[in-house]
């Protein structure tokens, strides 16, 4: 029972974690990405289409990654080159891509809402021979798909790249001191665009995890606001990959819990509000901490 729940919670964490890492990197590079939801949605659809057409999971993942990355680049170019407000552009991408996806489903496949082509190949789940026998830990780690492992693998990798490499330094400098980056002869806008492409690619993979990793079809509501939950996770994480992962796990557990709590008198709608409430509480708490520090500094 507990093993089943933990396994489900890990499964729900994966898309949030992938997207949150991308969004965190994007934010460190100086762009708050509200459009992650649209990139997830595009990735989910691309994965189903390509998986059904080619029968290849690798091709499906590549397509989802590309779909998200292209949207990420498009959004980033509007923000960095046309000086547009990132929040409004992100909201606009969510509206336009959601409409575009439904438009495409109706005009190209003649379906509305759900697209379930024959021959969708799902992501394989791998049982780890010895590990799966370990209680609790086995349920968490074994029997997962490659994207879940990839998502967790990316947590230390992102931390390493951000703090121990030249690329990471340049990215952090782009977000924190754009003028300085320009002064030393680098192109901060290009670096920022690259971080958006990365965010889009990660969100695209997250979409693929939802469509060919969990359900095996595409539905227009498949992302269900997870792009915004991911936003909550990386605001919770405050530029730290480890804390962002903690946020993603927490929200993934809520996601898995709400399904189970529905039959027990606990309304799912109220459980769904938890990630958003937690983020507001965390932000307000940080605000109080800053205030206290400022007062002590003055005295």
């Amino acid at each position: 029972m507990i093993d089943l729940f933990l396994h489900a919670a890990m499964l729900m964490t994966t898309p949030i974690l992938l997207t949150a890492i991308g969004g965190m990197v994007n934010r460190i590079g100086g762009l708050v990405n509200i459009g992650l939801e649209s990139m997830m949605l595009a990735g989910a659809l691309a994965a189903v289409e390509v998986s059904a057409a080619t029968g290849s999971v690798a091709a499906a993942l590549a397509a989802a990654l590309a779909a998200g990355a292209i949207l990420g680049l498009a959004m980033s170019l509007v923000v960095t080159r046309l000086c547009a407000n990132e929040i409004i552009v992100g909201l606009g991408f969510n509206v336009a891509v959601a409409g575009g996806v439904r438009f495409l489903l109706k005009s190209a496949y003649g379906v509305s809402g759900t697209f379930n082509p024959p021959g969708v190949v799902m992501l394989a789940r791998y049982d780890l021979p010895v590990v799966k026998e370990i209680p609790v830990f086995g349920a968490v780690v074994s029997g997962q798909d490659c994207l879940t492992w990839f998502a967790w693998f990316m947590v230390p990798i992102t931390a390493f790249v951000l703090h121990r490499t030249r690329i990471g330094l340049r990215l952090r400098a782009t977000g924190a001191a754009e003028a300085t980056v320009r002064a030393v002869g680098l192109k901060p806008l290009n670096i920022r665009d690259a971080s958006s492409v990365f965010a889009g690619a990660m969100a695209g993979l997250a979409g693929a995890h939802l469509s060919i990793g969990v359900v095996g079809l595409f539905n227009e509501g498949i992302t269900g606001g997870r792009g915004f939950i991911a936003l909550a996770a990386f605001y919770f994480g405050r530029s730290s990959p480890a804390r962002t992962a903690l946020g993603a796990v927490l929200f993934g557990f809520f996601d898995a819990a709400q399904i189970r709590l529905q039959g027990r008198g606990m309304p799912a709608e109220l459980v769904q509000t938890l990630p958003y409430i937690i983020v507001i509480v965390v932000l307000v708490g940080l605000g109080f901490a800053d205030l206290r520090r400022a007062r002590e500094g003055v005295v």
């Binding site: 509200i34 046309l82 407000n85 552009v89 606009g92 409409g99 575009g100 005009s107 307000v284 605000g287």
Partner: protein, 346 residues
Amino acid sequence: MVAAFAAPFWRVAAAAAPFALAACIGAAVLAATGHDPLAVYRLMVEEAFGGQRRVAATLTAATPLLLTGLAAAIAFRAGIFNVGAEGCFYLGGLVAAVLGYVMAGWPSMLLIPIALGAAAIVGGVWLIGPALARTRLGVDEVVTTLMLNFIAVDITSWLVNGPLLARGSANSATLPIGAGAELPRLLPPTTLHLGFVISLALVALFGLWERLTAAGLRSQMVGLNPRFSRAVGIDVPATLLSMMIASGLIGGLAGAIHVLGLVHRFVAGFSPGYGFTGIAIAVLGRNSAIGIAVGAVLFGALSSAGATIQLFSDVPIEIVEILQGAVMIFAVAKFGAGRRRGAAPA
């Protein structure tokens, strides 16, 4: 002389450019899927503006957008990036719907103002939290108000699925409001209702307030330059707080008018993003009363045309969302800005 004529021309051109660019993107989508873009656009214009009934439908669709546009503009002017009108719209709508059926026996003259007022207050109270967090603690209001939207949507959908679910009703909605709570129709066969007049009047009032009153000037100064405003003795936090509450009041009122005027009950998920469209309208209209009115009518035309276009052609209604999203994206783009910056010594 020439400059005096040129300036308004460029301002109109700048406001029209996002629509033109969005139309190009929409045309590309339509052409790629085997439709004739010009024929589709002509049909949309006819559906939105051809004849009294169509215009009435467009103005009905513009009604909630007038107020959500105003809610966004009043905050943006003061330099607060409030994206929380959507949540206020939901809460205001629910409050008005509940009062509309609980107090169904009351006379309209009392019931309607009470329902509208209560909804507005709930909307205003909803945004006090993020406003205080911003002014006292410096917490970014974009994230808090965005998150509050989802919380409002979830809370209202929980209420109508549980405690307030209409008996015998399977779709998550409240009971219909009493006849006395309905806002009167203006052109009876059409759905145009008194709410349109109220909304337009509020936008006009805002136009007078921002141009003619000291408070209007103060809030604009706070938006343009908070440090200067503080130096000349304006209470910046109080101005931000009151503009945020005003924004919430209007957002709540928008939801109430939508319920009392058109839907006549609260249904879970009843806003197709009116709060977010309002943000685009405020940006396009440069936070001015006339800009908000024109923007609301144009977006209203898009959605009313979209609702009927599907009946007369095989174009999916989602073309409207593609156009709306594209307008939002280009509404905030500054063309030529990149080149200017490149030319300036960095």
